[in-house]
Symmetry: C2
Subunit: 514 residues, 2 copies
């Protein structure tokens, strides 16, 4: 047994069963060790952002730790944007990064960089193995860090010589601390929600997006009449039939301010106080009104179930039940593909148990209301705002939730950042329906250019926001990576393509021409 074997066994003991890999020379020992530790499934990505996004998606749908295996500082750097999203999602991710041999590092060979410094801005914890006797304990500590609270980003740096050296150490199991009760004042929150009625809001962050916490929130709402809401972008929200409905905070700051205008009391359950996504000239950064009473009941890194149950108890709400979500009867859409017809077609065919990886940005505006009454499903979005995660998160979700359809609607611009994810979908036969909204633009930036007061869009600036020259053909790209494809030029054709895709297992890409 060598150091690499100890690392893999320690990871397996700590509950890691999948690793999304893009290895290089310095990780060859860890790749070889995957032969011996067969309880860990390796899934290859052609770009590191696919791997880190997939690890995030895997953690979002399973609650387990999503792991990656990456090649030195540049490999980690390529995955860092989706690590940022994972960090903001509060998911459990362990990035294992090979480094040069300890004695080779000072020579400053071409691939040398300060990996710990590359990892630090996007990691909660960085573990840099420095000697053979740290291999087992350091790996266990890195796993423990990944499993703290609702989940953290942990980076484990493995020098090549520590991986290839013989080891007599026993693997060690991660020891996450026990989850603790609510840090906030339960009675004060109960009193405020009861007194506030519709002017009170229970605001649920990522750690609260679980069936048990949502069920409690539904009881609280039924007992008090408060509003239930969530941030704009969330890790994985259970929605649809049988679940309490969360209102979504609008993306644009001016709409978000309206959303919170009537809120006098905001109780935070695993959420931070809401702030604008961006600052704009003469627009507010704080979304709640002056004088809104903000009561943190459970911090974002804290377990939310104890807080929610204590609140139910304090309110005597155990016998209450969430109001059922109304079922909508949505007719087959026709005509051009617009946000409204797209959302209609999407909602009509959303199957029970589906997991949605939503990155369709400017085209998503009608999805939340249209899908509110759909069969029970889960909704993942771009938590850190670093676009280029939808397809990658979908890969991880599909690996983590076999038997459940993963649906990844995405803009053309956002799809291109990690388009390599399509190949992993084909390779692994993942049950993903990719929907590309091909509007030939960074359409959201056309709004933002005006909203930031930069200018009306001149011809030269427009060239930086337009993607129509040349027009991208996603069916051609996807076919080149082994996927079945359909192109839809109308709402009817999109509806038909979605109907067929939901009946057919395996990956498919639908290109919706807008």
């Amino acid at each position: 047994m060598n150091g690499a074997d100890v690392i893999l066994q320690t990871m397996a003991l700590s509950g890691i069963d999948v690793v999304f890999t893009n290895p290089g020379t310095s990780e060859m020992q860890l790749v070889a060790a995957l032969d011996h530790e067969t309880s860990i499934r390796p899934v290859l990505g052609l770009f590191e952002g696919v791997c880190t996004g997939a690890a995030d998606g895997y953690s979002r749908v399973t609650g387990k730790t999503g792991a990656t295996l990456l090649h030195l500082g540049p490999g980690l750097a390529n995955g860092l944007a989706n690590v940022h999203n994972a960090k903001k999602a509060g998911t459990s991710v362990l990035n294992v990064v090979g480094d040069h041999a300890t004695y080779h590092l000072h020579l400053d060979a071409p691939l040398t960089s300060d990996i710990a410094a590359v990892a630090a801005p996007m990691s909660h914890h960085v573990e840099n193995l420095a000697s053979p006797d740290e291999v087992a304990s350091g790996t266990a500590q890195a796993c423990t860090a990944a499993q703290m609270g609702s989940g953290q980003v942990s980076t484990l740096i493995v020098p090549a010589d520590l991986a290839w050296s013989k080891s007599t150490l026993a693997p060690v199991k991660a020891q996450p601390g026990s989850q603790q009760g609510p840090s906030g004042d339960v009675d004060a929150a109960a009193q405020a929600l009861r007194a506030g009625g519709r002017r009170a809001m229970l605001y649920l962050g990522n750690g609260a997006h679980r069936d048990d916490v949502l069920a409690a929130a539904g009881r609280i709402q039924a007992a008090t009449g408060c509003r239930l809401a969530a941030p704009t972008f969330n890790a994985c929200v259970p929605r649809g039939q049988g679940r309490a409905a969360l209102e979504a905070t609008p993306y644009f700051a001016e709409l978000a301010v309206e959303f919170f205008r009537e809120v006098d009391t905001l109780v935070l359950l695993g959420a931070k106080a809401p702030v604008a996504f961006f600052a704009y000239p003469d627009k507010p950064s704080i979304l709640t009104q002056d004088g809104c009473d903000i009561l943190p009941l459970a911090r974002p890194e804290e377990a939310c179930l104890p807080a929610a149950e204590a609140l139910v108890e304090a309110l005597g709400a155990k016998a209450h039940a969430a109001a059922p979500v109304p079922v909508q009867d949505i007719g087959k859409p026709s005509g051009d593909i617009t946000p409204a017809t797209f959302a209609a077609a999407f909602a009509r065919h959303l199957p029970e148990g589906a997991v949605v990886a939503d990155e369709c940005i400017s085209f998503s505006m009608d999805l939340p209301t249209m899908t509110a009454g759909c069969p029970a499903h889960r909704w993942m979005s771009c938590t850190g705002g670093a676009i280029g995660q939808g397809l990658s998160v979908a890969v991880g979700a599909a690996v983590g939730a076999p038997g459940q359809k993963v649906i990844a609607p995405t803009g053309d611009g956002s799809a291109m950042y990690t388009i390599q994810a399509l190949w992993t979908m084909a390779r692994e036969g993942l049950d993903v329906v990719v929907i590309i909204i091909n509007n030939q633009a960074y359409n959201i930036l056309q709004f933002e250019m005006i909203r930031t007061g930069a200018n009306t869009i001149s011809e030269r600036a427009q060239t930086m926001l337009g993607l129509g020259n040349p027009r991208m053909d996603f069916c051609s790209m996807a076919a080149g990576m082994g996927l079945a494809t359909h192109r839809a030029e109308s709402a009817e054709a999109l509806d038909d393509a979605l109907a067929k895709a939901m009946e057919t297992p395996g990956p498919v890409l639908i290109e919706a021409m807008v």
Copy 2:
């Protein structure tokens, strides 16, 4: 005029005339300012690694500063691997990165990260604008840093409110320091080279890869009989007819040790002492023999021409001339596409003035010798070992060297990291010939798996190194991004495709099936 205008004008005054962009909301003011500062050409990339690689390539072929415009920490992170390559190449790169408004930053909105910390590991200099009165001077300092020595990586962080606020500041021009003479002992180097003959080697780093320095090196070789050599991977080496030939250091450590075995004296001209790319069990990390006398004449960050000229003077070599490179008569290759037949076809059609962006890794072994006698050309390689740079560097080279053919041979694995570069080639009508070596594998890793002593390649490990399931169709992907394409299944077909590509302007992708 607002802060963004001051920044753009300061950049223009400092000699920046192209910026490779992938902006977002926080950079909208800078995009708008491109309307006013029309001496700077914006070139859009669909992924930030394309932009940073292109800035590097632009600098390599022009000697000017290559600039990017990127979106917050995650946008910079996506470009960081190619920034690493630029840093190791010693090219001049300025990354301009938007940040949240100064007053918004503490709210920790989803896209918030510590951009300076993200930049630091791959930058020589980080300039974080903090107040309106720093906008002009800070931008000039960032440009100055990018232009220090042979070139550096400089990162300029621009909070959105400093970009949108009105400014009365005058733009400021960068003030790079004057270049100084050699730091090493010229007479000692002259004496050692004269005494050593074939057992002495003049080792030329990136700063020495210029026609004038090479001409001096050729005279030094003619006068002393020393060997001339360069590292394995270089920023941009002039080669072929009319130039002194540099021997290339082999990639594999055991071959590199042989390369240096007979060298008793190594004079470093803008180079570091050679070390192995990776460490391997029981193989050396230092490539020169014990007792080899290493004489640093000019440091990597130092100007090399004064050192080279002083050496010519000390040796009285002014009247000497480099030995002419022998012209090779290469017949049309036939049969399978192998490293040898590929190199033959490649060399036969390499036009005068061509710029090669080489990332074909395990398939490149016969290129150096086969192309040594070709018409004058330049050769760029992956200086930092972070693969996924060839296509991006080719974009920048083509923007920087209009009228010269850029040829980008690349492996299938390496091409996929920044495959989005193809779209920018099509959009800008760049004169690039992309050659994909489709061997359906991370072939180099199949060597490395054995060389690191990890194991013989088992079936499970093999799945992490093989790219054949599904087989990628690069013609299909490239067509989807607007490129003309050819597929070559034999050496003859490859030779024909290359002949045609060299006669046809504009981008084309040739997929060589191996």
